[in-house]
């Protein structure tokens, strides 16, 4: 499969995560990312289908169990039956340890080998490296730009997502790019002819995209806000805390929060992982930032003052 691929290079996992979301939100295809450490949530935003390795693991466990039972039955009960300690020839209970150990052994090695095959890994294989620092201190995003010739719009968009470098696109053979079912919103964006228009004029594309995203979530957004406020409570009319005192909330995000009815520290302090997720979905905010910066604890502190 031949693709024209553009590489954007990042320094932080969170930036990459956000960038993948932005790029996919515009209907572009992220072929793959290359990172020196596992970036949590990257598989989700890239839309990677959950691997079926656990099923393989179960099959290997059963294979191990079957081999253990047949080995013990053959040697102890069939080939050379012997009475040991007055026990029956095929004493199942005393076979349990070996059955257990062999199941584990088969699972581990079966899984390992399946993993190596699926990831195309073998001893002495040449690594397919896009940027020599990708296993050390840089994160690389590969974007499919086969459909466009002019990538200047995309490039400035990437710059906005804190890409430190952009490698010019070039033709490349990419093996086995799986076409996963993109997430619903992406598909909707794709359906509209945004994809090709996007990189041309940056200003236009971004306004289109923001309009699109709000259009999509309009009804859902209302529902989600209701759900959210139901959980953390509504701020009474007079309350209007200065949310900017929470480290991590800037003036823009404060306006966002106010617009969905969050105006007090009390509300923030009542959040839990579920409501945080709602806030992230509604405001399209950096996933995980709220928990990482510990807004809840901060809000509790601020409430005391």
């Amino acid at each position: 499969m031949s693709l024209k691929v553009l590489y954007a290079i990042y320094e932080e996992g969170d930036d990459l995560l956000h960038a993948v979301e932005t790029v996919r939100g515009k209907g572009m295809d992220v072929v793959d990312c290359y990172t020196p450490y596992p970036v949590h949530g990257l598989d989700n935003v890239m839309g990677i289908k959950r691997s079926r390795l656990p099923i393989a693991a179960f099959c290997f466990a059963m294979l191990g169990l079957a081999s253990a039972i047949s080995l013990q039955y053959f040697t102890m009960g069939y080939d050379w039956p012997m009475i040991i300690g007055g026990k029956p020839y095929s004493g199942l209970p005393s076979w349990i340890p070996v059955c257990f150990e062999l199941s584990i052994l088969f699972t581990a090695y079966g899984m390992g080998i399946t993993f190596f095959i699926k990831s195309r890994m073998l001893h002495g294989m040449e690594a397919d490296i896009k940027d020599i620092r990708q296993t050390d201190n840089r994160l690389v995003m590969a974007i499919d730009v086969s459909d466009t010739d002019d990538t200047s719009g995309l490039e400035s968009l990437l710059k906005e997502t804190k890409a430190t470098e952009i490698k010019k696109p070039y033709q490349e053979t990419v093996e086995a790019v799986k076409t996963e079912t993109p997430k619903v919103p992406v598909e909707k964006v794709k359906a509209a002819p945004v994809k090709k228009a996007a990189p041309k004029t940056k200003a236009k594309s971004s306004s289109v995209a923001s309009k699109k995203s709000s259009e999509i979530t309009e009804e859902e957004k209302g529902e989600k806000i209701n759900l959210l406020l139901g959980k953390i409570g509504k701020a009474s009319g007079s309350v209007n805390d200065d949310l900017k005192l929470v480290k991590g909330i800037g003036p823009v995000f404060e306006r966002n929060l106010n617009s969905i009815g969050i105006r007090s520290f009390e509300q923030i302090s009542k959040m839990d992982s579920e409501t945080i997720k709602l806030v992230e979905e509604i405001t399209r905010y950096f996933p995980g930032k709220i928990e990482r910066e510990n807004w809840i604890e901060q809000a509790l502190e601020l409430m005391k003052k």
Binding site: G13, D32, S51, I84, K87, S94, E101, Q134
Partner: protein, 451 residues
């Protein structure tokens, strides 16, 4: 991005490291020439390894009679050392598997070296059962279900000694896979930073073409999770089965149902003891104090205290049950342990394993490296004596007083034990020089988090 430092929970990785710093710090020993301290330590370990070779050769050449075992005490230092090493081998997989399932992020700075320790300890352990068979060249037929020329007799699957063979080999191979799999991304890092040809080749060979693709990471994390899931019961099963070597016999002092949990707790206890011994030194010598922080040492000290207390409770329970059972042989076995000719071994065991770890109730004791090092040595000694007490004092005065005997090891047995120390440290020094001692890729993923 903002970062708030909590006073209660300091960051796991100190010193404001960036991901570049992590690579630089952890690849340093690999990319630079060996230090004088490393050469000295490695040289001494090699001497002891030579001692192992010599004593094992002597045992095989002359026969097992060079050991001072006798008809009554037919297991002595050999099986004591076997159980001692297997026990040490339990911390590695415990740290990487059970702590992974519990999402304990502090494991990430220490899991690599603890797993390495596991593998080397199990190698040391394997020496003893192999050589205590005497004629090692036919040992293959005694331990593995192979068709043979002695009338097609098979191994006995009803015997815990055979379960042991399966448990230990499975444990060794699965731990090896777990360790290697976890190391592949880091080997790839070394490969891509490599300046010399040989380093490029060897690390390239073992990195299996890893390029950090998001799809590979996705599968990799699933495989790690499943391996952790199956390794957890595996760790517990291994020492359970080792304990059954004793518990399924009818020897007074061995024939108790408390053995499996008690052995598992003891194994974790001794394993963490050894991890502390190694890491307190390694963090200082290799300058990894920002990665293996006082917080890490403290967490390990807490595990040591908990498991030490569990082991202590098991000792007391054993004593109580012997008294309560009304079986005179059982009662005598325990009286003899505490007051018989080997009372000093029993006293060492009790004070090192039950009493000594109680100092960890005090914060100073948990957070002072030199003290922790001293304590870890005490734990190692105590756990060696536990196995000695269980094996030798139970055997030397069994049912028939006419069979009673004493046991003192020969120089060959002592030599083999010291030799396995040599094997262990030789492997560990090689590991510290040629492989990344800390899991770089995992540490990079937690630089920002404070748990």
């Amino acid at each position: 991005m903002h970062q708030i430092d909590s006073k209660i929970r300091p960051r796991l990785i100190q010193g404001d490291k960036s991901i570049t710093d992590v690579s630089n710090d952890i690849c340093r020993p690999i990319e630079n020439k060996a230090t004088a301290a490393w050469k000295l330590g490695f040289g001494i370990s090699l001497l002891f390894l030579a001692l192992l070779g010599g004593t094992l050769f002597w045992t095989t050449w002359t026969g097992i009679g060079v050991w001072h075992l006798n008809n009554t005490v037919m297991w002595g230092w050999d099986i004591t050392n076997f159980v001692f090493w297997v026990g040490i081998g339990h911390a590695g997989t415990l740290i990487s598997a059970i702590l992974l399932l519990f999402r304990q992020k502090w494991r990430m700075s220490i899991n690599r070296s603890a797993e390495a320790m596991t593998i080397f300890a199990v190698m040391c352990a394997a020496v003893f059962p192999l050589f205590h068979m005497g004629r090692i060249w036919v040992g293959m037929y005694w331990v593995l279900p192979l068709p043979n020329a002695f009338g097609s007799l098979w191994v006995n699957f009803n015997s815990p000694l055979l379960w042991d063979v399966f448990a230990i080999t499975t444990y060794f191979t699965v731990s090896l896979l777990f360790w290697y799999l976890g190391m592949i991304p880091d080997i790839a890092t070394v490969r891509d930073r490599a300046k010399t040809k040989s380093r490029k080749f060897w690390y390239g060979f073992f990195s299996m073409g890893w390029n950090g693709s998001a799809r590979s990471w996705h599968r990799y994390e699933i495989v790690s999770l499943i391996l952790a899931g199956i390794s957890t019961p595996l760790v517990l099963s291994v020492h359970t089965i080792v304990s059954m070597d004793f518990a399924t016999s009818v020897v007074p002092g061995w024939h108790t149902t408390i053995f499996p949990p008690y052995f598992v707790a003891g194994a974790i206890f001794s394993g963490f003891g050894m991890v502390l011994t190694l890491l307190v030194i390694a963090r200082k010598v290799m300058n990894y104090e920002d990665y293996i922080t006082i917080g890490h040492l403290e967490a390990m000290a807490k595990v040591v205290m908990l498991t030490g207390t569990l082991v202590g409770i098991a000792y007391l329970t054993e004593f109580f049950i012997a008294a309560y059972s009304g079986v005179v042989y059982e009662q005598y076995a325990f009286i003899n342990r505490a007051t018989g000719p080997y009372w000093w071994a029993y006293a060492t065991m009790m004070s090192c394993n039950l009493l000594a770890p109680q100092v960890f109730w005090f914060k100073w004791c948990r957070t002072t490296p030199w003290f922790l090092f001293m304590m870890s040595i005490i734990v190692n000694i105590g756990m060696w004596f536990e196995r000695f007490v269980i094996i030798v004092t139970s055997l030397h005065r069994e049912y028939l007083p006419s069979r009673w005997a004493m046991y003192v090891p020969s120089w060959v047995e002592v030599g083999i034990f010291l030799g396995t120390m040599g094997l262990f440290f030789t492997c560990f020094f090689l590991f510290a020089k040629f492989l990344p001692v800390i899991n770089m890729s995992e540490v990079k993923s937690i630089l920002k988090s404070r748990e």
